[in-house]
C-alpha cells in the first residue's frame, strides 16, 4: 500500500491486489481497505483500477441504509472508512463479470480440495452450518469465504475464490478451488437434502448473486449464472443445528 501525498487531489492510498485471478488496483481516501485486503497484495499492472471519491462514500451510505430498511432494520452508523471498504468491493463486483466472475452471497468451505457453497438470506444459518462441517471434518476443511466469495465461471469449470471480504467473523483465506456443489439452505425441524433443478434454484441464484447497476454487466452476470447452473450440482437443504446436518449434507454433496 502506498500513501499518495503528492497529487493535487486529496491525499489518498493505493495498492494492487490479486483477487479471483485478476490484478485490481485500488485508490482510496482511507487506509482501512488496504489493511482489509493485505492478504491479497500483489505486484504488476492492474487489469482495472477502482478509484473512490467522496461521492462514492455518500452513495454507499445511501445504498446501505436502503438495504437495511428493506430488511426491516434501522440504518446503521458505519464510519466513512468502513463504508469505503464496501464501496470498493461494490465497484470491483461491478467489473468482475467482464472477467467471467461474479460475487456471490454465501458461505463457502473447501473439503478435501473441493468447494461447497451454501447460500441463503442473511440470518438463516449458513455460517452455523459450515461451522458444523469444520467440526466434522477437522483439518480436511478450510473456510474459503464466509460472506461474499467470488465464482469464476467458464463453459468448462466453476471455481470458488477467496476474497478479502469474509464477513463479520473474518472467516476465509486466499484460496481457490473447483466448486463441487451449491446448496440453497433453509431452516428445518429435521435435516433433509434434495437435488434440485436449475429452474428451482434460479430465483435464489439471482437474488444471491451481485446484480450490477450497469444493464450490460447484468446481462453478462445472467449468462454466467446460466453457465454456473448448467454445470453445477444444485441442492436444497432444510436443516437444524445438529451435527447430523453436516453429515447428511456432506454425504449427498460430495458426489
Amino acid at each position: 500500500m502506498v500513501q499518495d501525498i503528492s497529487g493535487g487531489a486529496a491525499a489518498g492510498f493505493s495498492g494492487t491486489y490479486r483477487i479471483a485471478g485478476r490484478l485490481i488496483g485500488v485508490s482510496s481516501l482511507f487506509g482501512t481497505v488496504h489493511a482489509y485486503c493485505r492478504d491479497y497484495a500483489a505486484e504488476g499492472i492492474p487489469d482495472f483500477t477502482v478509484t473512490v471519491t467522496p461521492e462514492d462514500i455518500i452513495r454507499e451510505k445511501e445504498k446501505t441504509d436502503a438495504e437495511y430498511r428493506r430488511e426491516g432494520l434501522p440504518p446503521p452508523s458505519f464510519p466513512a472508512d468502513l463504508l469505503e471498504t464496501t464501496a470498493v468491493y461494490r465497484r470491483i463486483a461491478e467489473r468482475m463479470p467482464d472477467y467471467g466472475t461474479v460475487v456471490f452471497h454465501g458461505s463457502a468451505i473447501a473439503a478435501d480440495g473441493r468447494g461447497y457453497l451454501f447460500t441463503a438470506k442473511s440470518g438463516t444459518g449458513k455460517s452455523t452450518h459450515t461451522r458444523l462441517w469444520r467440526s466434522m471434518l477437522g483439518d480436511r476443511a478450510v473456510m474459503i469465504n464466509d460472506d461474499k466469495p467470488m465464482l469464476r465461471i467458464t463453459e468448462h469449470a466453476v471455481n470458488v475464490c477467496g476474497t478479502p471480504y469474509t464477513g463479520k467473523h473474518r472467516l476465509g483465506c486466499n484460496l481457490t478451488v473447483p466448486l463441487q456443489a451449491l446448496c440453497l439452505l433453509t431452516r428445518g425441524e429435521t435435516n433433509c437434502i434434495e437435488r434440485i433443478t436449475k429452474q428451482q434454484a434460479y430465483p435464489m441464484l439471482l437474488q444471491q448473486v451481485y446484480r450490477p447497476q450497469d444493464p450490460r454487466m447484468l446481462q453478462k452476470t445472467l449468462r454466467l449464472i446460466d453457465l454456473l447452473a448448467g454445470q453445477t450440482a444444485l441442492y436444497r437443504l432444510a436443516c437444524n443445528t445438529d451435527p447430523a446436518a453436516a453429515e447428511i449434507a456432506y454425504a449427498a454433496m460430495k458426489g
Binding site: 428493506r70 429452474q199 434460479y202 430465483p203 439471482l206 437474488q207 451481485y210 446484480r211 450490477p212 447497476q213 450497469d214 444493464p215 447484468l218 446481462q219 445472467l222 446460466d226
Partner: protein, 86 residues
C-alpha cells in the same frame, strides 16, 4: 411506453424473466407466463397499449375485452415495481 433500462429481459428456457439491475429499487424477480411474456417482449421497444393489444389478439384467439383486462392487470403490476418508462 417501454421497459426501463434497469429491467432486463432474460430467457430461461421457454420462460421469460424480468431481472432488475442493482439500481432498480426492486430486488425481486418476475417470472412471466405466456401473456406477460408477450407483453414484456413488446415493451422491450417503444410501444403503445393499442399495439400490444393488437399483438395479443393476433397471437391468441381471445376477445378484445379479455386481452385489455389482462394487459391492464400486467401493466399495473409492472408499474408497481417501477419497470415501465411511460
Amino acid at each position: 411506453m417501454k421497459l426501463k433500462r434497469s429491467f432486463l429481459v432474460h430467457q430461461d428456457g421457454e420462460q421469460k424473466l424480468l431481472v432488475p439491475t442493482g439500481e432498480a429499487g426492486f430486488s425481486g424477480l418476475v417470472r412471466c407466463n405466456a401473456s406477460a411474456g408477450l407483453i414484456v417482449s413488446c415493451l422491450e421497444h417503444e410501444t403503445t397499449e393499442a399495439e400490444i393489444l393488437a399483438r395479443m389478439t393476433a397471437e391468441w384467439d381471445i376477445p378484445a375485452e379479455t386481452a385489455k383486462r389482462d394487459l391492464e392487470r400486467i401493466l399495473g403490476e409492472l408499474r408497481q415495481i417501477g419497470a415501465i418508462d411511460e
